[in-house]
């Protein structure tokens, strides 16, 4: 009896230790939030509280890609017809989906949640603005926008990430809008762009801007789980190149974007670059835990969220070839791609 009690106690100790440390950590974070709210109430500017390296490392150690693929497998299971309405109605209620805009309103039509998640809209549901040169490529929430300063892009107010880490280093070849003449780099051999020295950093931004007097602008759009998850061409442009960064699939909701600096450089993403009437143009789709897969309709070679990948690598693919010098022409509002569950 005596040894049994000790053994049990010994076994239970790690559990209690985890509960105590976890509870203490959560409690401290709540206290920090309370204190920030009080400071804001007094009208004081509260600097964004960024995650420490150990917190980012701990978060990155969570097998988010595995979880994402498992979530995707689960949502590929075909639901029996009687179960479809309850399941999709719960999703609609939870995330405020407006089914009146969906091309197919009948919930029984969608065999599983993946199909429901990738639903299309009625063409007239989203008229494309003819007046302005750049439109929103998707539904969502504007996290941040403005001019890019000193090669740093703001993911949310006050929290930045490096432009060069995000887009990756300039790639050889005159067909690219980066326009560098560096020796060719084997696809997938890219090292993290942060390897560039500080002086190159600022020149990186200057090399993206191809015309005298122009500036570099950015806009970050967050798609919530209930949003329409296809995306379209934001302007008339030519897509010349795709760079796929396999990576983590941390959540990208605004709260996490305020907490983890360089979040978008950690996550799996697909960078499309090319040019429009004013020069360089790029659209990047960044994956997240529940939405780990990214499809680009004209790019059958692209496979995202696959099990095998080497950290920090990226894969380049050029849409310009001997037979196609122009790249892929995209009209403003044209279907470009979609995010998929898992």
């Amino acid at each position: 009896f005596h040894t049994a009690a000790t053994r049990t106690l010994f076994r239970l100790r790690p559990f209690y230790f985890l509960v105590a440390t976890g509870g203490g950590y959560v409690g401290y974070r709540q206290y920090e939030k309370y204190r920030d709210r009080e400071l804001e109430r007094l009208g004081l500017e509260v600097p964004p509280r960024l995650a420490g390296e150990w917190e980012v490392a701990l978060y990155k150690s969570v097998p988010t890609r595995l979880l994402s693929r498992a979530w995707g497998r689960l949502n590929q299971v075909e639901l029996p017809t009687w179960l479809r309405k309850p399941v999709y109605s719960l999703y609609i209620w939870t995330f405020g989906v407006n089914m009146k805009e969906a091309a197919v309103e009948d919930l029984d039509h969608y065999r599983n949640l993946s199909e429901f998640f990738s639903r299309k809209l009625k063409p007239q549901a989203r008229p494309v603005c003819g007046l302005h040169s750049v439109i929103s490529p998707s539904d969502g929430k504007i996290l941040n926008f403005g001019q890019v300063q000193n090669c740093e892009v703001e993911q949310v107010k006050g929290v930045t990430y490096s432009l060069e880490s995000f887009l990756g280093p300039r790639t050889p070849g005159d067909e690219l809008p980066f326009g560098s003449q560096e020796p060719a780099r084997e696809a997938g051999q890219g090292e993290p762009a942060g390897a560039a020295q500080a002086p190159a950093h600022c020149s990186f931004q200057n090399q993206l801007v191809t015309k005298e007097g122009n500036e570099l602008y950015h806009c970050v759009i967050y798609l919530a789980p209930g949003d329409y998850h296809c995306f379209h061409s934001p302007t008339d442009w030519r897509v010349a190149h795709r760079r796929h960064f396999p990576g983590s699939l941390m959540s990208v909701n605004p709260g996490i974007a305020r907490w983890i600096k360089e979040l978008f450089c950690h996550n799996e993403r697909v960078v499309l670059t090319g040019d429009w009437k004013h020069g360089f143009f790029s659209l990047t789709a960044v994956g997240a835990t529940n939405v780990g897969s990214i499809r680009i309709y004209f790019d059958r070679e692209l496979h995202t969220n696959s099990p095998m990948y080497s950290k920090g690598s990226y894969n380049d693919f050029s849409y310009i070839s001997h037979s196609n010098k122009e790249g892929i022409p995209m009209r403003k509002g044209e279907h470009l791609g979609e995010f998929n569950l898992g």
Binding site: V134, P137, I142, L143, V148, H218, F264, F280, S282, I294
Partner: protein, 32 residues
């Protein structure tokens, strides 16, 4: 998921946006 646009444009390019606002596909982001 998130979409990030990074592009060059003349200095007088203007965004017609407010941080935190909801937006829908097809609505204006900005223009010259």
């Amino acid at each position: 998921s998130t979409i990030v646009l990074i592009f060059e444009a003349p200095k007088d390019f203007n965004f017609h946006l407010k941080p935190g606002q909801k937006i829908r596909f097809g609505e204006a982001l900005g223009s010259l």
